[in-house]
């Protein structure tokens, strides 16, 4: 456990000392959302109708943009090799890195999402479900993304490849995330969708670290 905490604080410290990354992800998210009123027109009814989908798709792309830095810096400077020799299992280390990634992308995105929802005239009744869905869904993005990031370490044009691998696997999160947020905004029950999101989180929490660790091991061979 102490190894987990040590790695988590190391990653968080690195993220905050380098500064730019978190701000960049949030700025990308905000800017991309703000593009939509210009793209589809400022009609409040239309914006309210598509708000949940816009927020989710952009949050997904913002998370995707930040995935590359999950293992890449450590892989480049060789610290990943040193980490793999630690007594802490690689699976636990992957989990620590995912938690750090979520705290520096998923959580800030979730915090700023209600503000952007306001700009898009999202129905007030949908806010609790939107936030709950983002809290449940964004960790899944980090966990599934870790598999893709580990698989593409050292690949040519890794960024494009990463999106090709990861985006299809993100579709379930997107479907249930949007369904939960929209159901609440329309006054329907959002609980079943939230439960399915929680199931996705539980499943990926249990399985994704194994797959990502296996991918890291073969990258280090």
């Amino acid at each position: 456990m102490s190894g987990f905490a040590a790695l988590l604080t190391r990653d968080l410290r690195l993220a905050f000392r380098q500064g730019g990354d978190v701000a960049n992800v949030v700025a990308f998210f905000a800017l991309a959302v703000i593009l939509f009123p210009f793209g589809v027109g400022p009609d409040p009814d239309l914006l309210a109708r598509i708000a949940a989908g816009v927020l989710w798709v952009t949050a997904l792309l913002a998370a995707l943009l930040s995935l590359e830095r999950l293992f890449d810096a450590d892989f480049q400077d060789g610290s990943l090799e040193a980490l793999s020799l630690m007594p802490v299992p690689l699976e636990i280390q992957v989990l620590a890195k995912c938690v750090a990634h979520w705290l520096t992308t998923g959580l800030p995105l979730t915090i700023i999402a209600p503000l952007l929802a306001l700009v898009l005239h999202f129905d007030a009744a949908g806010y609790p479900a939107l936030i709950a869905a983002l809290l449940l869904g964004t960790p899944v993005l980090s966990l599934i993304g870790a598999i893709g990031a580990a698989l593409t370490l050292g690949a040519r044009r890794a960024g494009v490849l990463l999106s090709l691998l990861v985006l299809p696997l993100y579709i379930p999160v997107l479907i249930f995330g949007v369904a939960a947020s929209e159901a609440a905004a329309l006054g329907l029950e959002s609980r079943p969708h939230l439960l399915l999101l929680a199931a996705l989180l539980a499943g990926s929490l249990a399985l994704a670290p194994w797959a990502a660790a296996a991918a890291l091991r073969q990258a280090l061979e």
């Binding site: 598999i147 698989l151 593409t152 050292g154 690949a155 040519r156 044009r157 890794a158 490849l161 090709l164 691998l165 985006l167 299809p168 696997l169 579709i171 379930p172 797959a211 296996a214 991918a215 073969q218 990258a219 061979e221």
Partner: protein, 236 residues
Amino acid sequence: MQRFANPARFMRLSAALLPWCSAAAAVLIAIGLYGALFIAPPDYQQGEAVKIMYVHVPSAWLASLVYAVMAVASAVALIWRHPVAHIAAESAAPIGAGFTFVCLVSGSLWGEPMWGTWWVWDARLTSVLVLFFLYLGFIALTNAFDDRARGSRAAAILAIVGVVNLPIIKFSVDWWNTLHQKDSVFLFSKSTIAPSMLWPMLVMAAGFLFLFAVLLMLRMRTALLRAKLRALRFGT
């Protein structure tokens, strides 16, 4: 298992099997097509358009089956460091992508007259589309590294991760009640499709299966020969 890790043994075995499998594929697909187009009755509602089923359903089955074959081959390759299994998985991927593409296109052509639309965001259609992208991702990942062995191993892990999509495809029509119809052919209980329509479809499916075996063996032989050529030329 290890006996088949020897490429020379595989080359001998596949050379012996290829003519028989090719003949079986040709004969079965010919019988299946004749049965489908001339013997099987038109549907009472869909008319002759139902004949798209005889290509659509077998290619859909094969799309999932090839993925399963690819995932098992990938697991074997990773666990036993089995070189021929890597080649099998990599050779199967474009074939599977092809079957998935045929399934999507024929389904789209069938959907237009029957549902009145080329495409709906139905759970079955979406999950098969994801399957198609998984195949593409596998192929891209295989070729993304300067070190070929690294690409093979990374793609093998991706193939195993993607297996989660197979049960979703299978049960999507039961979990979500949308436009795509439920299964009507069953292994262990009576199928809900008329026998006169069922047999040409099963013959076609068997023909597609042999076609897959033929294409897989051809592609694997080519890959092995190419590897040998590379080794001769560059000494690696």
